[in-house]
Every structure is written in C-alpha cells, then in structure tokens.
Point group: D4
C-alpha cells in the first residue's frame, strides 16, 4: 500500500470533524476489513474523488451507524460504500437510515468464504435497496468505480476520466501476450 | 389459528401501551412472518408465559427497533424472539442494542428457502450473540421453548411444565404405530 | 398489472424511436422476465422518472446489446437496470460497453432458484462494476429505488419524494397489528 | 492461551468430581474442538462465571452424554454450551435429555468448513431447541456471551458487567483509525 | 400402499414384544417419515426378509433409542435402517450404541430439501460408521436393497433373489421404448 | 408432443436394428428423462439430423452401455447426447468407452433440483471429457444445437441452417414488445 | 504410513493373481486417492480382515471395472470399498455389476472439497445401492469399520473385536482432559 | 512448463496476424487464467492440432470479443475453447456471436472456488450452447480433448491418436501399484 497517499481527506475525516466536501463515505464493520475496502479507496483516490473512511460497526456501534447514515444526506454525501463480512448488516442498516445510494461490499469471511456476507447484503427486502458487488477485493474496487460513475452523471470531467480508464484497461488487455511475461 | 386466544397480553401490547409484566418480546420484520412466528407465540401461550408480539422492521423502522431494543431491559423483558427473512437483520440489530438474550428465527424466503435468512442471522461476529434456531416453523416453536427454558432457570413452576411437556412429547412418540393412523 | 399505465414513454420507446428525455433504461434478456422487471418499472412510474423498457438479449441479440449500451451515455441515460436469469450475462455485458451505472437484477431461474443468476451478475471482475440486487421481484423493485436515489443526487424534488416514500413505508409498518388483519 | 488461568473450577470438574456451584457446562465432542471452544471458556472466565469443561462425545460416549445431560438440572447448571463438528449430534442429544438451555457451537470441519456442523446443529425438529451460534471461534465466544446474558436475567452484577463489556466494545470501535495502526 | 401387507412381523413388533427372528430393524424419527421409509419396507417384504418397523426419535425418545440400539445385537438384528430429516441424529446415535451395521436414510426436509438431513447423517466422525443413501424414497429403497445384500452374504437364497431382481430390472430397462408408452 | 414426428429413424433404431446412417445418438438413463431429452430430439429433427433415441442405464444396464458406447465409432455416430439425473453416471461412462464426442445433459432431480446431476456430469477427471450443458430442458436443447454445430464443421448445409436459426432467433427477440402480448 | 505392514494379502493381490481368501476389496479411481483410502486399509489390517487394494478407474479402465465387479461374488468378496473424487462414478458402477455390498468413499476434490464426490456417490437412483460415508479420511476409516461390522454378522470373533474397539474408543474419550495435553 | 514448446503457431497467432490454418482458438479472460488454460494448450500440442491462444476479455474488450467470435467461422476455426472465472461471460458471449462449437472452461475463482464460474458458463439459456467442462485444470485439459474428438470426426489420423491416447491412459492405470511408488 506504499503508493497510496492516505493524507488529506481521510486524515481529516478520521480526526473527528468531518471534511466539508466529502462526496463518498467509505465505512466498514471492522478495521480488519481494511485490506479489502482499501481497494475502493484506491479507486476513489485515483479518480480524485473526495472521500472519508471510517470504521462503523452495525453491531458494536449502532448509534454511530444511525448518526452516520442519518446525517449523510445533509452532509452532502453522494453515495456510501459499506463493507462487512459474515452476518453483514452494515450496508443494509446504513441504507435503512438514508436515501443516499448505498453500495455494499461483501467481505470474504473465514468459514464460508463470503457467501454469508453476500447473501446478508444482497438479499434486502423490497423498499430498502443496497447495490451489491462481488465478494472481496474485486467487489470493493468495483464499488469504488460504481461510485465514480454515479458522480459522473453530474460531472463531465469524471466521465472523461472514466472513459479514459476504460480505454486504458482495454489497451492493457490488448497488449497481453501468452504465456504471460513474468 | 382458531384455537389460539390472542386476547389479553398481546392485545394490550399492540394497543400501544406495553403490558406491565411482559417477559418475552416477539418481534418480526413483517406481518407476513406471522404464520411462522405464531408458532413461537403458541408455545408461550401454552406455557402461560406473558409476551407481546410486534412488527418491528430493521430496515423500514430502524428507530422503532432501536427504541424497542434499547428499552427492553428496563421494561423487564427476559428475552426477545426476533424473526425475519432474506437479508435478515432484525435479530442481530436488536441484539446490538440490548443485553437481553435474543433468539433469532430465520423465516423461510422465497428464492433461497431461508438459507439467506439463516446465514444472515447465525453468522454474527464475536461480541453480539444471537441464539439461532431452525428455518421456519420448527425454529419459531423451538425459540419459544428456549425462551421458556431460560425463564425456567428462575421459575420452578415452568421447570415442571417443561418436564411434563417433554414427558408428553415422549409418550406421543411411544404411542405411534406404523403405518400412521391418520 | 391493470393499474400500471404503460402509455407514454414506454410506448414511444418500443416504437423504435427512442424517447428524447429518457433517464433510465430497463432492459431484460427475455419477455419472460417481465413479471419480475415490471417491479422496477412500477417504482419508476411511481416516482415519475422517465424510462424505456426493452428486451435485449446478450446471447441472442449481442449486436443490439452493444448498440444499446454503446449509445446510452450520449442518449442521456443516467442509469440502466438490466435483469436476466440463469447464466445471466446481460448486466455485465451492458456494463462492459458503457460507463453509465448499471444495476443488475438476478431473475429467479427454474432449476437453481436464481442462485446461478445472482452469481453470474454479482461476481464481476475488477474493472467493470454491476450494482446487484436481490433475486426476483424485491431486487427489481430495489433496483428501481436505487435508480431513483442516483437521480435524486441531482434532483431535490426526487429527494423529497424518496423521503416521503420512506416515511410512508415506515408508517405502514408502524400501523401493522398482529395477527394480520386480512 | 498463556493468559487463561484454567485453575480452579475446571481443574476440579476434570478431576472427576463435579464442582458444587458450576453454572455453565462447556462440552465438546473431541479435544480437537478445544481451540474453538476455549473462546467460550475465555468469555466465562472474563465474566467470572463458574463453569466446567469436558469432552463428551455423542458418538463415542453416548452413556456419558445421557448421564451428563440427565443430571444437569439437578446439578444446578443454568445452561450448557456444546460444540461439535461434521455430523454434529452433541448439542441436539444433550438437549434431548435436559430442559436446561443448550447453546450449540458448530465447529469448523475440514471438508465442508462447518456448513455440515451448522446444519446438523441448527435444523433441530420442533420440540427440542438448540440455540445455535456462528461457525467457529466467533460462535464459541458468542455462546459464552449468550450464557452470560441468560445468567444476567437473575444477576444484576452480571448485567452491569455485560453493559460495561458492550460499552468497552463500542469504545474500542470508536477509537479505531484507518488504515489500521499495526 | 394398499398392496403392502403389514401383517405379521411388523404387527408383532409394534405390539410391544419384539418378534423372535427379526433380521432388519427399520426405525424412523417420526411417523411423518413413513411415506419415505415404506420404500425400504417394501423392498424387505419383496425379498421375504423379516423386519420390524418402529418410530424411534433421537430427540424425543433418547432412552428408547439407547435401549433399541443397545439390544439390537443380542436380539439378532443383522442391520438397522434408520431414517430421519433435518438435523437428523437418529442414524448416528443408533450407530453409537451398537456394532450392528446401520444404514441411514436422509428424509427430504421442507426448507432445505434434505441437504441438511444428508450432511447430518453422512458426515459422521471417524469411529462410528453410518452407511448413507440418497435423499428420499430412492435412498430408502436402496437402504432396503443394501440390507438384503448384507444378509445375502450368508444366505444363498437371497443372493439368487438379488440376482433375479437385477436381471428383471435390466430387462425392464431393455424393454423401454421412446417416447414412453403412457 | 403431438407435433413431433417420431417416425423414421427413431422407430427403426428402437426396433433393435440400428439405423444405417445415424449421426447422433441420444441416450438417457430412464424413460422418465424423456420430457427433458425430447428437447434435444426436437432440435435434431428441426435441423434434419439423423438420430436414434434409446434408454441406456449406466446402473441397470451397464453391459448395454458398454456395447453402445463401444460400437458408436464404428457405427458412424458423430456424437452422443447423454442425459441423466441424480448420481448421473451415464454421460461419463459412455465417454469412458468411446472417443466420439459426448454431450451430457443434467436432468433436474427431485431433491436437489439437478445440482447433483450437474456436478456428477461436469466434474469429470482429466482424460475423459464430457461436454456439459445446463440443467434441464434448456441444456437438452443446447446439447442438440451443439451436436448440430459439431456436424456443421463438415456440412455447409447445416452451417447455413444454423446461421438462419440464429437470425430467426435474433429477429424473434427484436420483435418483442413489452409488456408481452399474451 | 511407516507402521502399516502392507505385506501379505495386498502384495499378493497387487501381484496380479488375486488372493484366495480375500474378504474385502478396496478399490480407488487413482493412486492419488491412496492417502485417503489407506485409512480404510488400516482399519481392515487392525481387525485382521483379509483384503486386496487396487486402482480401478471407472473412466480410464471401464473394462477392468466390469471384470472386477463382475467376478467379485464368485471370488468370495463380502464387500467392496470404493473411493473416488469429483464426478465419482467408481462406486456406483461397481455396484451396477455386482450384488456384493458396495461402500462408497467420497474423496475430497480440489475445487469443491468433495461436495461433488459426495453427491456423485450418494445420490444413486433406486435399484443400485451404494452405502456412502463421509468425505475424506473419516469416511474411508468408517467404510472400513462398516465392512468389519458386515463381516461380523457371521463372525463372532470380529464382533468381539468390534466391541473391544468401541470400548477402547470410549475409554480414550473418557480419559481426555482439557486443555489437551500436547 | 519447460517441456511445452510454445513456438510456432502460437507465436504467430500472438504476433497479431492470425495463422492461416488454425483449427482451434483458445481464449481466456485474463492472462492470470493461463496456468489453467495451458492444460488445454498442452493437449492440443500433444495431438498436433494447430491453435492460437489469446487473451480476450468479455468485459474489458467486448469489441475484440465480437470481432474474434464474428470472424471465427470464416477464418476456419473448428472450435473455440474459452476459459474465464467468476461472473464468467466470455464463453457465452463468444457463443452468442458464432456458430462454431464453443467449449467453456470454468476457471477456479478465489472466494467461491469456481462454483460461480461454473454456473455462469453452464447455465446458458436455450438457443446458445456452451459445452462446459470441469472447474480448473482438469476441465481445461478435457476441453482440449473434446476439441480433438470434434476434429477427429473428420480426421482418421486424429482418431487413431485418440485411441492410442486412451490405450496409454488405460495402461498407465493398469500399471499402478499400491501404495504409490514415489
């Protein structure tokens, strides 16, 4: 993680006061989810999207959860990425207390490899949506990209960056040779 | 359900004011869970345990959930039976806001037959326990029996009733002939 | 479906020419997915969000898929809801050809109850995100609500409608009595 | 496990004679379940709850099982925590011979990661309840906490300890910073 | 089931006294398992193998289970067919108390279609074997056939009947035409 | 199935003598698999591919299986479509005795919905390939189409028919309107 | 495996000629199954049961399979233990060609941990029974014990050995202390 | 991989221009799939079948996919082997744009061990067939063998090689001794 500059917005956010212009909240049930959720953070950094990253536990800090979700809209968050594992209630409970779009990331669990996390997040009842992504790091990265695409609806600069990201991604694949080089 | 007298405690509980001496709270995420959860209620009625039955939705009424769970101990509840289906967050979120024992019932879901409900309830992280029972009606009835056994720890009369219940149950099996008489 | 007025935008969209101001595209792999996907459509109608609904099959009309996804951004779509069942490739392939947010709905399949649809949609590799919702009707409705919440980021009127929707939903739960009245 | 003092009650219990005032029995199908089940023991120690820990195998020592379960109530046990893996019959068979609350812990199995253990424990038929917890160490710890909460119904001191435990747990989460420190 | 004569051995067995020369015990956890387990009984009848059929519940009549299994060898049983559903402990617990071969039949369960029954029966730990068959009626019939093949080891007449059964079965398949006639 | 003319090749094949110029063999473990496997037959009929349809049971007629598979190449079969359910051994055992391409169809099973059939067919060890298709009717139809595409490698007429089939299929989708008409 | 004497019966069996008085055949689909299947062999050795161990592949040596199974009865085998992994057809195909009891052992597979092996073996259709045991080493050992119990039906000496084995097993458990000693 | 000569056809194919007489295309979603897919390549090399190997990503290079599949027939490919993991859309999307037989290989995925890959590939809807093989290396090798058997329909030399391959494979098994030698 050497190349990820966690200075700036995150530091401010963690310092207790919330940053003024944060667009995306990234929350996770435990700091042990960080190695997964950092993939979302890296995407947001790459696209220059302001964010804050916080540990919010549905089960151990329900009041914080309610407060965080409850104030999200007025604080100007445009979406919230929430990751958790096992009986993962964080994304759904965040969604229960805000109308800001919630993107859920099932963190891989020890015994059931994240199948429990996935079902706990994706199988929400009608009325409270959680947009769910793949189990683990790919899902976290894609939640980041999805957040960017949501913001891009109102931001032409981001749209251009996304198009370029896609082009680069395509070009990387096109340049692949087999057998792989290293 | 003709033979179940829902008069008395339940009626009072539903009337808004909570009954004074309720020992067990029975909550469910939706009134569509009632055909399952009534099996818990029937057990409590059978053993003469006072209870209240309420719809509390983790996702649609998070504030009610917090309030219900948060006041459970001081209101004297000895345990809470919570049933929900799909991404079932109710039992875990109740447990997050009270130290009263929480018994979770995975209600059978349409697409995944309750496997999602089960994993969403049972796979709680360390720190917030939810005692989980079988998917569907058997689980609801057993949550009721487990509640009775918890209360019986401090109530010799209930212990005797439980012992008699077990004896009767055994005798019913012993009296079975094959093929079944139906 | 008698109470759903499919006049207007949809009719125009189906007529070949695409409506001028469509905000949300709703596509599905087969018209047999309609009973599921109509739940998304009903939400969009309820919130007054303009949309178009089309059958686009990843496997049987790949060219149409490419064309649809490829032109989505310039046509002004703000998000695309895509539903499919079994080896459900539609949402992922739409997402592969556009940067517009894609919301995937796993339609319940015959043999595996939609577990195949869910995994085919949610387990996308890093780089191409598909926001996935629950299997079946609940997922379709929630994809609709998620679309509304994405649009609401730039539309205060929608935000107010969403807040009211949540309030109504909460009040409906609060008004429930047990046993259910019907 | 250096910091866990297994002196006292456990030593006495293992010595053949059962301790006089044991409140919670902790049994497991094999001593290979110890690394999981010790998490329950640690919780009981932390809360100062008296307990005994024993290997009781449903399959290899059925008579011991019957004797253990059959005498639990008169010996004054307030609940029994039972852990086993694979075709895990111990918790259910203990429950079959006592009305003392039984808390089941699915120990992670080699081939199926504890999914077999979980289903063997949680899917009990109507009439004999086993309160089930998560697969593995989290489940064992939570079974311990649930036992404490059951005892706390009749013990204000334990209630206070539980409330403090929850407060500490919350504060630990609130103090987390991201990225994690070590 | 009109064509199955349940006279004779079974009637005697059910009458409390156990028949003198019973070779195979057929036990099930509940009389609701009968429609499945009768398929084993039909096979035994077809091969003229003496048997007894009884409801023995691991959970509701553990003492009967112990007594039944404990006396099986001296009563001359050559094998025991045991069927149960859900957290199916009957076959394993019978096997725990006898060295007579135990054949387990996973009865199809409501929520999980017998996957729970299968894992609860087949995943026995080293030391106590339960020979397990398919979920449901096919498994019950095959448990019957397996019992016959075990007895046939010491009974040439049964061997001949089994060979003829296989020949007839083969001939039935060879005589099939497509499309099927009815 | 009134519109399917089973005259001709099939009738001859079933009559015991095998038709001279049969290109595709369609075998199934039981005539109860016919409603599924007829979907493969219908495709072959539609494309004018000569075929034979037979019940061959891996378990009940292993000799027939060996003979059928063993003579397939010299009889000129270009591929064999084999369908079976549950512990489905037919496709794999056919493949074990011939180098003719084998296409396996997992027939939906009662308890496990064909997941057992699928895994029993697709998870073949290295060395003996079985090309596997979807569970149930879709898989049977696609096995038929795959057989046609294999034959089309050496038959320009078939290639043209396949191209037309695809065009028609595409056009059918393109002509769909929503809501569906009937 | 240093303490297992593979001299004698096995050596003879492997030498091509089959031993005269072999009671149990142990076959496996590949020599990579040996580390699992040796657990069955060890049990047979421990009980002094004569056996032979052979690699017989359903898919790569179907003729050998037919010959082996077809001659089992006349060669005097009292049962056959067959282990295989993945799409495991060996036990079922052995059973298809003999009336000697067949005991199946699902060997743990790489991708699916033996769930495919288990379903491929246990889900046999009505008519051809395979007695199935747990995935992996425990299952292999138990297949060995089940074979011993089948033989014990006609061998009082073996019965005594089995009773002693169970007593020893029980005593080992009874002697366990917690925490485990090493 | 030292013994695999990747000279010749592959080198040419990778060089951008496609080799003139390539019979089999081997494509994969990522070069991280190479260690799996090389098993298919090794089989093709062993049988002297000309092939090309390319990274084609359904999600990151959809245009390349369309072009590759769209030109396959006229370029003379006789079949295409396509491998991918997770929400694996490559095989199905290739099949959507060509009538050349497509053989799908589910690459083992991190969280779900390839169960997601398998279902995403095998559960294709009626109309677009993908012949699917086992998860991982065995499946890749078998896809290679299946490709050879398809080509062998029109190539007697290949048929002979396949027969010899099978003979050798059988002889290798027949030569196995137990315990395994190394």
């Amino acid at each position: 993680m050497a190349k990820l500059a966690l200075v700036g917005l995150v530091a401010i956010a963690q310092a207790g006061g919330m940053a003024a212009d944060v667009q995306v909240g990234v929350v996770m049930g435990s700091d042990s989810d960080w190695p997964t959720m950092v993939k979302a953070v890296e995407v947001l950094e790459e696209f220059g999207v302001s964010y804050e990253a916080k540990v919010v536990s549905a089960h151990r800090t329900p009041d914080l959860l309610m407060e965080y979700a409850g104030s999200a809209m007025e604080r100007g968050l445009k979406c919230i990425i929430a990751g958790a594992g096992g009986a993962a209630h964080l994304p759904g409970m965040i969604a229960a207390s805000t109308i800001v779009p919630v993107l859920g990331v099932p963190v891989r669990s020890k015994a059931l490899s994240g199948m429990d996390s996935l079902l706990s997040i994706v199988q929400m009842p009608k009325g409270i949506p959680v947009a769910t992504f793949a189990i683990g790091e790919a899902g976290a990265a894609n939640a980041g990209l999805s957040a960017v695409s949501i913001l891009a609806n109102g931001d032409e600069g981001l749209r251009d960056k996304l198009l370029k990201f896609r082009d680069d991604q395509r070009d990387t694949v096109l340049a692949k040779t087999l057998p792989p080089e290293d």
